[in-house]
Every structure is written in structure tokens, then in C-alpha cells.
Symmetry: none
Subunit: 253 residues, 2 copies
């Protein structure tokens, strides 16, 4: 049991609700904006809708789990039935993080072989990154936490290498403005993905010892998710619009 | 605990339900009306749909929160788990108020630089306005309430300046009738946004002391929300229709 103050409890509760509604609104936004980009970019947009839809589902679950595992602002974090289920986040990331990366490749509409090669490396690396983080997250032992934290960082660094070095080579052939926006997208990705390890480190120690840690981890993860999924998705829409217009779609579309 | 009379309790309950269904109906209305405006105005319309969607979500939560925190018409407003959660309104406003302002700029289809410059000023100002109101709303101390009330008014005045002085310069180039409708939109905005500070002041004092105060604040906020989001959104649709027709879309659309 972790006993939160009233302000802490309400902060976490409202931050979860904020995450939930942001994901849902973003899903509808990208779904109804499909007609505003050329057909070849709609797949990237649908993937973005699916990322926020999956995340919205998980925030709905997380919100309910937090509410139902609390009694008088004491949150049950034991890992037993009825406790706050942190694993929703990892199920979410296992699905959404590979999708997010495929989305970036899809919106660039690179040559088929280049796309395929990038996807074949980014998807397994991102899945490995999430899967390796989970044993550390649920462990109560600091050495295990450090071990899996480091293991999970290796695929993360590989992803950065692919995005910055390999993908960088393909950006020269993009229309004006697109390379700059993709550059900002990568920076957004690094800045927001950087929050996850910070939240992970914040949560380290023997079994989520303090209420402060718990609040920091939950608020940190949620803000990072909103930036990495909603803001990311809207940037994908923007890139798809820029490319559609560069390829002759009328400006009044 | 605040004990309401049966009439008061039912008034609040039904006003919340009214707010909820108005937001949902307006969301669907603007979503299915997209084809009735030129493609370039659809983004403004989608933003309007998202504003009412986000507000609908929050009214659903507020309605449930009110019902679940009441026992025999005594409403728990302590701020603990299970109490009436006033913060839903602030999460709502934090998302919808910036969107509302971007919507106005988007429907005018101004030159890119003008749009960008207006948005870069209106969005941070509106977020600051909401964020500065919240500490006052949750405080029980009158001096804190006054301090944050005043601080929150500063960005509000800045928004009015941008909308009336800066935006006014761009209205001359709009088609006939549009400038007048935008003028009415701004008046609607001032009239409805004026309700929020009144409700805020109504709620001041030591911890929502009376049932009358509570009822006044909730009814006031809800009516203001319906005017500022639904009526506002339908006005945006009207402006988009006028501009579409001025630009050659056939009247039978």
C-alpha cells in the first residue's frame, strides 16, 4: 500500500484522465483527416490513429485500475489481483512503439527496399527495448533493475543510430520543408523517449517505496505518452500534408 | 459535505446531463457537416468537433462524479478520493480553450505567417490563463483565490487584445458578411468567457461554503461551456459555409 496525499491522488487521477481524452481526441482527429492527404500517405495516418487508439484503451484501463486499487487514497501496488496494474503500459508500448516507428517510415514513402530494410531493423529493436524493460520495472531488486535498464538501452541506442544515420541518408530526396519537419520529429522522439528512462530510474528501489516516486513515475510516463503519441501523430499528419501538397494535391484540400 | 435541497440536486444533475448531450450532439453535427464546406475549412471544423468531443467526455465524467460523490443529496466536496472532482473542468479547458482559438484562426484562412504569429501568441496565453486559474479554484484561502484570479486575468486581457486589435486588421480582406459574423463570434466569446470569472468569484470563500454557491458555480460553468463550445462551433460552421460559398462552392451543397 502507498498512501498518497489528497493532492497527489487527484493529480495522478486527473493526469490519467487527461491522457485518456487526449488519445481519444487525437484518434478521431487523424481518422477524419484522412481525406486531406494523398491516398499513399493514408496508411501512415491510420497507423497513427491506431497508436493513439491503443493508448486510449490502455489509459482507460489504467485510469480504472488506479481508481479501483485505491481506498481512501491508499493505492495497492502489491502486484496481486486488484492491485494497480503497471503492466498495461508495457502491453501498450509493445504494440505502439513499433507502430510509431513504422509510421515514420511509411510517411516518408521511401523506395520499397529502403523502407523494408529500415522496418526490419526498427521493429525488432523496439520490441526488444520494451520487452527488456519490463522485468526491471516489476522487480524489487536494484541490481535486476539496473541490469534490465542497461539491456533495454542497447536496442534504444540502435534505434537512434538507424533513425539518425541510416534514415538521414534518405532525407535529402524529400521535398522542401519535409526534411526539417522530420528532423524535428526525431528530436521530439528523443526528447520524449528520454522521459521513459528517467521515469524508470525514478521508480527504482525496493518495490516503489514512496508515494512521491509513484506520482513522479505516473505523471512522467503520461506526459511522455501524450507527447510521443498525440503530438507525434499530429506531426505525422503535418508531414503527410506537406508531401501531399508537394506532389500536386491542391492547397484547398 | 454540502447538503443540497432536492430541487438543487436535481437542477445540477440535469444541467450536467444537458451539457453532456449538447456536446455529443454538436460533435456529430460538425463531423457530418464536413462535406458542406470547402476542404480548406475542414480542419477548423474538425477542431470544433474535437473541442465538443473533449468537453462531452468531461461532462460524462463530471455527471458521474457528481452522482457518485452524492449520498442523499449531500455532495462530498472534500477533495479526497470519491469527492466531486472539479478538476475535470480545468483539464477540459486546458485542452479546449487553445483549440477554440486555433479554430477561429483556421476558419479565416489567413496568410500562413499571420496565422502562425496569431496562434503562437494565443495558444500559450490561453494555456497560461487556465493553468493560473486552477490554484485559485482549489484553494480555500481568499487571498490565494484573489491572487490567482488576477494573474489569470492578465493572459485573458492579452487574448482580447490579440483578437480585437491584431485580428481586426485581417478582417478587412474577408468576404462580405464574414467580418460581421467574426465580430459576433468575438462578442459571443467575451460574453461567455465573462461567465467563467463570475462563477469563479461566486465560488470564492472558505472551501465552497454553501450549497447555493456550489449550484451557482456548476450551473454557470455549464451554460458558459455550452455557449462557448456548441454555439461557438456552430458559428464556426456558419463562417466556413459563408466563405466556401464566397469562393465558389455551390449553394446546393
Amino acid at each position: 500500500m502507498l498512501t498518497l496525499t489528497a493532492n497527489q491522488w487527484n493529480l495522478v487521477y486527473n493526469v490519467f484522465s487527461f491522457g485518456l481524452v487526449s488519445m481519444l481526441a487525437c484518434t478521431i482527429y487523424t481518422l477524419v483527416s484522412q481525406a486531406r492527404v494523398l491516398p499513399k500517405y493514408r496508411n501512415a495516418l491510420v497507423m497513427s490513429s491506431m497508436v493513439t487508439f491503443i493508448a486510449g484503451y490502455h489509459y482507460w484501463r489504467i485510469f480504472n485500475s488506479f481508481s479501483e486499487s485505491s481506498e481512501g487514497m491508499a493505492v495497492k501496488v502489491s502486484g496481486d489481483q486488484g492491485a494497480f496494474n503497471e503492466a498495461y503500459r508495457y502491453v501498450d508500448w509493445l504494440l505502439t512503439v513499433p507502430l510509431l516507428l513504422v509510421e515514420v517510415i511509411a510517411v516518408l514513402a521511401l523506395a520499397k527496399e529502403v523502407s523494408k530494410s529500415l522496418i526490419m531493423r526498427l521493429v525488432p529493436a523496439s520490441a526488444a527495448m520494451i520487452a527488456l524493460g519490463y522485468p526491471g520495472e516489476i522487480s524489487n531488486d536494484q541490481n535486476t533493475q539496473i541490469l534490465y535498464g542497461v539491456l533495454s538501452t542497447l536496442p534504444f541506442l540502435y534505434i537512434l543510430y538507424v533513425l539518425f544515420v541510416e534514415l538521414g541518408k534518405s532525407l535529402d530526396r524529400q521535398p522542401e520543408g519535409v526534411a526539417a519537419t522530420v528532423g524535428r520529429l526525431r528530436l521530439l522522439l528523443i526528447a520524449t523517449w528520454g522521459v521513459y528512462p528517467v521515469s524508470y530510474i525514478l521508480g527504482m528501489g525496493e518495490g516503489m517505496a514512496s508515494a512521491d516516486q509513484f506520482v513522479g513515475v505516473q505523471v512522467g510516463y503520461t506526459i511522455a505518452d501524450v507527447l510521443a503519441k498525440c503530438v507525434f501523430g499530429l506531426t505525422i499528419l503535418k508531414i503527410a500534408r506537406m508531401k501531399s501538397m508537394a506532389e500536386g494535391m491542391k492547397d484547398d484540400h
